[in-house]
Every structure is written in C-alpha cells, then in structure tokens.
Symmetry: none
Subunit: 188 residues, 4 copies
C-alpha cells in the first residue's frame, strides 16, 4: 500500500478497510489520507465527496457480485445446482476478500437504502432462483421472500461468525454443509 499503486486505488482500498472496521461516518478524511499515505486534499481529486467514495465502493462491487451470481445460476439447470453454485460463490468471495464482502453484505451503512430495484442485486438473484424452483416444484412451495431470507441468513450469519472468530474454518470448507442445510430448508 506504500507507493506502487496509483493514488486512486490506494485511496479506495484504504477507505474500504476503514469503512468496514469503523463505519463510514466514524471514518474521517484524515483517517483515510493518513492510512493511504496521501494528503487530505488528494481524495477530492478522485471523488467528489466522502459519501460519493462510499457509494462508489459499494455500488460497483455490489452489482458486479450480483452479476457473477446470475451468470453462475444461468449456467446451471436445476435449482439444486443453481443454489449450490451460488453458495459456493458466496463462500469463495468471503474467503478471497473478507473486507469487501463485509462492506457489501454485512455492514449496515446507509448504502443499501440507495440500491434501486433496477440495480443487479444478490438477494434478488437468489430470490428469483427460489421462486422459479417453487414454480417448478423442485422445492416445496411457500413464501419466496421468507425462503430467500432464510437461506441468505443461513449463509451470512456463518460469515459473521467467521468474522468474529467464533467460526474458525474457512467458509469454502463449510460450503458443503451450508448447501446441505439450505437445501433442507427449501426442500421442506
């Protein structure tokens, strides 16, 4: 993080880490500048405001992850296969970049409120898979929103446990268990 990286990337990465660790509001421009090794004013050369930085960090990756999930899901035929691919992707994402995962899916900053229905959205992708599965009778019928929440919660809360150190194995190594549990929840 010293100097090789261009300033903008350095700022983005540093800010992400601080946003996750302390929250967006609690992170000051000075914090970011100091940690990134640049001057305070430098940030404004690349982002119009702190809020814009927070949103840029969020929206870019949030949509990208949703698209990844959707691509994966499309390449599978059965609900079971789609679900499995998606959960494995969640786990892989977490293990690869815990900080970004947390920022997108666990942190309760205000960004989520700015997500519009048109934006690609991981929860929506999961929901559509589940709803289709119900229609196809591959899983038991029920409220698709409730089912989606259950599966999402199942996975995310284990990620939280990993974050806090209560869960000690990598998420990827728990993927089989997560998939099995999710499937039992959906299969009824």
């Amino acid at each position: 993080m010293r100097d090789g990286a261009p300033t903008k990337a350095k700022i983005a990465r540093t800010a992400l880490g601080l946003f996750v660790k302390q929250g967006v509001t609690e992170t000051t421009i000075k914090d970011i500048a100091r940690a990134a090794g640049v001057a305070e004013g430098a940030l404004y050369r690349h982002y119009p405001s702190k809020e814009a930085l927070a949103w840029d960090l969020f929206s870019t990756s949030f949509a990208a992850f949703a698209r990844e999930l959707d691509d994966l899901q499309r390449q599978r035929a059965t609900t079971r296969a789609k679900l499995e691919a998606m959960i494995r992707q969640f786990c892989a994402f977490f293990d690869r970049d815990r900080t970004l995962f947390t920022y997108l899916l666990l942190a309760q900053h205000g960004q989520l409120a700015r997500v519009t229905p048109e934006m690609p959205n991981p929860t929506e992708v999961l929901r559509s898979v589940i709803a289709r599965g119900m229609a196809r009778k591959e899983i038991s019928k029920g409220d698709p929103d409730v089912a989606t929440a259950m599966v999402m919660g199942l996975v995310l809360q284990v990620a939280v446990g990993r974050l806090y150190g209560r869960v000690t194995r990598d998420l990827s190594s728990l993927a089989d268990s997560l998939v099995a549990a999710a499937w039992r929840v959906l299969k009824g």
Copy 2:
C-alpha cells in the same frame, strides 16, 4: 419538585427510535431533544453522554432478553421444545417491539463490541442449547458455532425482510415455519 422519570423515559424511547432509523452516530443530541420535546441539556441530567445513553439502551434490554430466553429454555426438557420456545420468543419480541428488537439484534452500531463474556447473551443461550442437544444426540453432530449461526441467521434475516417490507406477515405467524426450518437444519 418535578419528577424526572417521565422525561427520562421520553428521551430513552425517542433516542431508541432515532438510533434505529438513522444510526447512533448520525443521530444528534438536537435530533433527540427536538423529537422528545425537551431541551438539549435535559438529556444530561439522565445520562452522562450520548454514548452512555446508547449503551444503556442496549445493555439493559440485551441482557434482559437473553435471560428471558434462558428461562424459557430451562423450563423445557427436549432440545426441540427448547428451540421452539426460543424461536417463538424471538418472533413475539419482534412483533411486540420491532424497534427495540432491531436495536438489539440487527443494528450494527458499536455496542456489540462492548458485550463482555459475562453478560447474558442471546446467541450464547442458543449456542448452549445446541451444544447440549448435540451431546445428547438429539440433533446431529457438528460444529456448534456453525449450527448456531445458521439458526440465528435463519430467524434474523426473516426479521430483516419483515423490516424492509419484503416479508409481509407477522413473524409470529411464521414461527412454525421458522421452527420447522431450524429443526431441519439441526436434525441433519
């Protein structure tokens, strides 16, 4: 002489609502005072600081809820009955006081970080029930922390869905489904 108790209660309730809606940091003393219909200084007769107010609100009810869960659990014999009682309690709590539930269990303010191991803790209560159930072979063996996270996530994420309006039925009316799903997760 005037009785300060009603003012204190008004401040506490108002602050809770604002903390949940906007976050603790984002809520100003002026916000609280205005919404509670008191002067800014009034707050400081009842709480030493905004931070202390946020913590008092959290810690008092957090521990109380954990104790409720524990009492319930003790009065049941089987793991299944314990689990069911606890999940119903979560649902009832949510339906009765959504704001408080959110503040204690969903909001990501810094309060959770201040919970000490000695404090009664809802997650710990659930974990001990699950760990015991595994020992007694009433549920399938596995990492109790992972299982706890799964069940907790299952329930909490549905509460989140309800909060955001995606789930439209009261949690209590979904309790049966939640218990069934949780049981399938644990039963293996």
Copy 3:
C-alpha cells in the same frame, strides 16, 4: 459545615474556599451546592447571581480589613509604629484566615477591578501612611507609590510563599523580620 449554620453562611464560606482553590470562573454553582450540602437553587435565595456572591464576599471583607488597618494606624503616632501595626495585622489576618486573605489580597479574580476609589482600600491606607511619613521626613523621600508597592510586595509575596509551602513558619512569627525589612526599604 453540616447543618447548624444557616444556609447563607454555609454557602458563603463554601464558595469562598472553592473560589480560592479553583478560581471564580472555574467554580460552578453545582460545586458550591454540593460542597455546602444544599440544592443548586438555594443559592439564588440568598444571592442574585454567582457574580454577586463573589463580589459580596470580596467587597465586604476588603473594606472591613482596610478599616481595621486604618483604625490601627490612627492609634499610632509615628510612621514606624503605624507600619509595624499594619504589618502585624497583615500577618495575623493571614494566620487566622488564610483563605479569606488569599481571596482578598492574592487571588487575581476580576473583583479588584471593581473597587472604586471611594471604597476603603488596604493599599490606600498604607500609601497614605507612607506619603505622610515622607512629608514628615520620618522616612526618606521618594515616589510614594513605588514605596508602597515595595512594602506591599515584600509582605504579600512572603504570604504567597507560605501558601505554597516554601515558607514554613507562620507569618506572625516572621512579622519582626518583615517590619525590619520594610523599614530598611523605606528608611533608605
């Protein structure tokens, strides 16, 4: 200081102590009330404001002390006797009520600025004795204001030394030295 004394006296004495120890501005009504064992509002039954309290404490005793000095001085014939009587009175006053002495003569609160020329004033009494002594040629001629300051400083700074613990004997036991020194200063 518990209860026997009437409230007003209790407040006055307590306030004086705090004013000297911490300064008037730095002493709050709450400080006074707590130390005096009364409610905050009680003070306003006896004094219109904190400032009025500070001034009352000052002006009453300041003038009284000046009158004492003046009485003493009048009862002596020679400048030497007058000077000696006054310095002994300073010492006795300090030893008897160090706190009040400090408040009147050493503390740099704003009260001194409110002293009007008509008010009896210890420095003025000393000055008139010195000026008369010069006129009578009992002491060497010079600027009476300079001479007054020298004598006053001589005595007061020793009081300061006593206060801070650098000087360890009571002022009264140093009175002879102080008188002798003052006299040498004035005699030229």
Copy 4:
C-alpha cells in the same frame, strides 16, 4: 502550499494578549480567532487545545527567562552584582514586553501549578543566588525562602503598580531604586 507559521504566530500573540487582559478561562476560542483574524478551526492546526496553547505560551517563555537570568547571574562574581543584573533584567523584560511579563510572572492562571521542579524557574534562580550569598556571608543569614519572597515581591509589586498606572515611570528607570531596596533587605 500555504505556510502556517505566520498564522501560528498571530494566534499566539493574540491569545497572549487576551489571556492577560481577561484570563485564560474567560477568553474564548472565538475571541482569539476573531482578534487574530482567522477561523476558529485554525487554532487547532497549531495547538491541540486551548489549554495546550496557554501552557505552550507560558512554559516556553518562562523557562527561557529563567535561563536568561541564570546566564546573567553566572557571569557575575559577587552576590550584589548578580542581584543587580537580575533585577535589571526583570525591569528590561517588563519594559520590553509587558504583556508577556504579566502572563509569566503576575497572572494567576493555573499554569504555575504545572511547573515541575526540573523546569528552569526564575524564582529558583533568585533563590539559589540568595542562598549562596548567605553561605558566603555576603548578605545576612536568614531563611533563604523568606528572603527570596521579599525581594521577588519588592520587584513584582512595583511592576503591578506600573501596570495599573499608579507607578508612572518605566521600570528600567526605577532599577537603581529597586536594587538598592533589595540590597538593604538582604544586607540586614
């Protein structure tokens, strides 16, 4: 990029004047900022707090003045010459920068309480000269702390008189009288 040094100097000088005129506690950040012609926040780029500013102003010059006195004293052989040099330095300092002199030696803000025994200290310098003079029998024997207080008071109170307008000549022009008076006090 802008150079902060002039701003810092402006703040320091302005604050010093206000601290002397009204006292530290009675001087607000707004007062300083307005008088210095800068924004309130500017102060905090140069000093961490108002208290730190007050202390910095005090401690820097207090120690420097003590060192000056000590240098002067060392370059003289006799107690009489040392005393004379020091008193002349007091007078010159007062005449050159009355405000700073007042802040260091006359104002009763809390700074004096923070002076540690290791810090160079004008009173200590004077005391050591007097103590040595007594040991060498150049002046009459006695309590060196009492003698120090007397001489110090002699000089300082004349400065006070000058400040308040009762004494109308510059201190430097009174130096001879002060030295003579101090010497009479010490010579016994």
